[in-house]
């Protein structure tokens, strides 16, 4: 049942400019509702289309906790289970709405050694047909493999 990739990044080979494998999330009403309720966010705009449209949105839309969750997943699917996410800093834009795939792209913008960890900054973008849903940076720390 696991869909996690097994290709864990080797910290010593990560370099600025490295691209993360792009990921397209097929956003549906179910995806939005599942993420909202799993994060205990019962705001009607995240499960009730009429309510959301009454507030001027084009449809029900993804809540911010789920957006952060998908950004985190996008990065750790690449960085592997040893990665510790240190920060997720995003600017929020276009709503993530049903039937518009959310396309995640990212690349390494900075990396440096800090003690026994390699600290890696990834610049990410999640966009749909409306525009940029989330743009920003994620910083992860990976344990450096013992030498020798």
């Amino acid at each position: 049942m696991t869909t996690a990739r097994s290709d864990v990044q080797r910290p010593s080979t990560i370099a600025e400019g490295d691209e993360l494998p792009p990921f397209a999330l097929a956003v549906t009403s179910t995806v939005i509702v599942a993420g909202a309720i799993a994060s205990r966010d019962f705001m009607p705009a995240h499960h009730d289309r009429q309510f959301a449209m009454g507030q001027g949105a084009p449809d029900m839309f993804m809540n911010i906790m789920a957006t952060n969750g998908y950004v985190s997943r996008f990065v750790t699917d690449w960085a592997g289970p040893e990665a510790m996410v240190r920060s997720i800093k995003i600017r929020l834009g276009a709503p993530a709405v049903p039937d518009q795939p959310l396309r995640f792209t990212g690349h390494v913008t900075q990396t440096h050694r800090e003690g026994n960890e390699q600290v890696v900054e990834i610049t990410i973008r999640a966009a749909n047909e409306i525009g940029d849903h989330a743009t920003g940076t994620v910083v992860v720390a990976l344990p450096v493999e013992p030498s020798g």
């Binding site: 993420g35 799993a38 906790m65 952060n68 985190s72 510790m84 996410v85 240190r86 997720i88 800093k89």
Partner: protein, 191 residues
């Protein structure tokens, strides 16, 4: 985006800087595996650090840790479902003295989240019981944007464990705007 000079409303709003955005809150439940499993399935995040389903928790965390983006989830208030739409999605009736009612009363009733900055000091484990404090960090002067005129409001939530050690923070910024000042030609479908 253009800036207006500080005005009377801004001066009133500025008195809130450094004050609580909301009351301190305690997580209704400690970090727990059922809620982690719910999240993992909902977001289809199969990072083995979050669920040790094969008994092979060999990551450096040495056991199950909660997905970091769940930080805010643990302290979400228990919702009173009846009337939630009428309350604009607020989990329950809250009476707190913060800039939101001041802005609403002045006509800046629109709300748009613009920035979220999460920082994680450590990963959470089942059993961690969180509480939080929320402090108003900044209030802009009046800005004119593609969404019309309004004020940016920024607050910082600090998450602490049972020993009062900080485990994470979240900076959150919203734009409170006056919907009557929107230029529809610039909206482009986004809300």
């Amino acid at each position: 985006m253009t800036d207006a000079p500080p005005d009377e409303l801004h001066a009133r709003l500025a008195t809130y800087i450094g004050k609580p955005m909301g009351p301190p809150a305690v997580a209704p439940d400690p970090v727990n595996v059922p809620m982690i499993r719910h999240w993992v399935d909902a977001l289809d995040d199969r990072n083995p650090a979050y669920l040790d389903e094969d008994g092979t928790a060999t990551t450096r965390f040495g056991g199950i840790v909660a997905p970091p983006a769940m930080l805010q989830t643990w302290t979400m208030g228990r919702p009173r479902i009846e009337g939630i739409a009428e309350r604009g999605g607020a989990p329950d009736t809250i009476t707190v003295d913060n800039p939101i009612p001041v802005l609403d009363a002045a006509g800046y009733v629109g709300t748009l989240a613009t920035n979220s900055e999460l920082e994680f000091v450590r990963y959470l484990r089942p059993g961690d019981r969180l509480h939080l404090t929320m402090e108003i960090d900044a209030i802009s002067t009046r800005k004119t944007t593609s969404l019309g005129q309004g004020y940016f409001l920024t607050w910082v939530t600090t998450y602490l464990d049972a020993n009062d050690e900080v485990v994470g923070r979240q900076l959150f910024r919203i734009f409170k705007f006056d919907p009557s000042t929107i230029d529809p030609a610039k909206l482009g479908g986004a809300s």
